[in-house]
Symmetry: D3
Subunit: 127 residues, 6 copies
């Protein structure tokens, strides 16, 4: 089993709905380290899991799209609670859509909120 991980950053604002979120119910800024791992059983003819630059720009473009935004204002998050768990699955879905057809393994997305807390979501890419 091979696994390539690339890391990027996401800085955005949002608020969370529900008493369980305490002060995070108010709009606040978060900075995440975002990691995307490509997991596969075999390498391609270049001895690579996937092309590194393509993987990096897939993630980079998505981060540019939602970075420095208030997530509460984005159409795709309307009526959603953008918890770290939710955002992991959302980023997973977006990257999976993009690589579907070309990459047949699993993807894992990890969001590090702080050095003492992080969340991951892992699922196969379905075609």
């Amino acid at each position: 089993m091979y696994e390539l991980t690339i890391r990027d950053y996401l800085k955005c604002a949002h608020s969370l709905k529900g008493d369980i979120f305490g002060p995070a119910q108010l709009m606040h800024v978060v900075t995440y380290e975002v990691e995307v791992s490509y997991v596969t059983e075999t390498l391609n003819e270049h001895e690579l899991i996937v092309d590194f630059a393509t993987a990096q720009s897939s993630l980079g473009n998505l981060m540019a799209e939602i970075g420095f935004k208030n997530l509460d204002d984005l159409e795709q998050f309307e009526g959603k609670n953008t918890t770290t768990e939710f955002l992991c699955r959302y980023i997973h879905g977006r990257i999976a859509d993009e690589v579907s057809g070309e990459f047949g393994g699993k993807l894992r997305v990890t969001l590090r909120e702080s050095p003492v807390a992080w969340v991951a979501y892992e699922a196969p890419v379905t075609s």
Copy 2:
């Protein structure tokens, strides 16, 4: 598959029994980064794996109980070799006991002794 990890610190003293441990047979101080990961297939209605504050205080309370102690003096470790592997399984058992009934996934406990050595133990929470 979702996974939430929280991190805390454990500073304690202990000694290890057996020639294989070399100078660690003498009482010495260790500082561990301790990570507990909650692994599950689904999220709750708040789009969360578990409540973060509860997870954090479960670990924090246990660290306060055994932190700044000489593990050789604690009743629960009598006659035991408190290797990093043993401590991973011990912390796993304590957290598992506490969340059993409410959390149905797997727990993984990681103890980082130094930037060049760490140990993990992973097993399902049984009810």
Copy 3:
């Protein structure tokens, strides 16, 4: 499931063959953090996964053998593209050969090229 990880460093030079590698087709220096994880279901009579010092010197000796070398000049890499993925599998094979017969679990080798990119290879040790 228990897992022990040890970390070391590898500084070497190499070049990669193929347009996909862009400027890395020219000879250049890379510094990797190299991690070897021993994964097993049970502990030995000392409450250990494997002897830490042995694991550390297995990795250290291999790093000394290929460190501060131009990999393009080493016989074992002749005609190969020493991508990070390839090097993970190579190190896995070398450590697996050494522990085969004594260790019956899985090994995972991780090479961190930078804080934003790393690769892992995991497979059972076969005897």
Copy 4:
């Protein structure tokens, strides 16, 4: 002597002019960790160097202004070589302008390009 440091991130694109910059003469993306340190001899009545939230938003606003941009396209950098050294001094100047009159000590700006290279610029805030 007291010193408060806050850290943020800057992701942007730019190119550098001059043969000495080699491949960095082509447009490329860089991600910096940006640190601003406030250095002073005395504390205010709250036992603080400066208000943390104000310091954080000064830096955050500046990062939002130039982040996710091509620096080559920004008017303030026209005809300039935006080396890491230049950017340290630029950020220093912008923060110094903002705090001048309220803060009478020194500012240091550090830009970390990678875990193996970083640059700092330190100078008093003049009023």
Copy 5:
């Protein structure tokens, strides 16, 4: 100029007085990385700044004294606002008292609250 730095951890609870502290006015837990730097012009006959083990236990003993406590309950902090800046100066004073007479240089104490914020206090040891 030589400088030796040792690092330890401090986990404690406290509250801060004054509207400027917002939610930190409520009792909360903080975990600091605590660093003490010994700065001097010359080495001793062993080519050392100070004895490392002594420096380490000076800091370790102080951390054990105030760690896992609510600082609001400790006599020495009565009526004080235990900001990070205050705590840097307090730890500096305690270590300085202990080494005064034996160490003639400067001490710097750094408290890291998070990867995005830290505070330092530096002053000579007076005898």
Copy 6:
């Protein structure tokens, strides 16, 4: 004041002479992160402190010369106690000799032995 820091690694073996060093009197392996900082008041015409690649290869060549060696066997360390402090000053001297005539500022060399202990030596480059 501008400051450029570059980092490299040094893995070597050595032993220390004197009871104060305890078990470090026996031959043992150490891995240091080695940082060299160039401190200066002005930038050159390229808006640089010094040429980064030159600084990097000065340090890299020295690390290759003494890396993966037993320092006790090297002529230049005969009769010396190669403490971390000593090694900082030695590396400072070697880099200073190399840049003398071209660089007129200060150099600082930092050796990180572990995340809880590091040593620095800083002095002007004399010509």
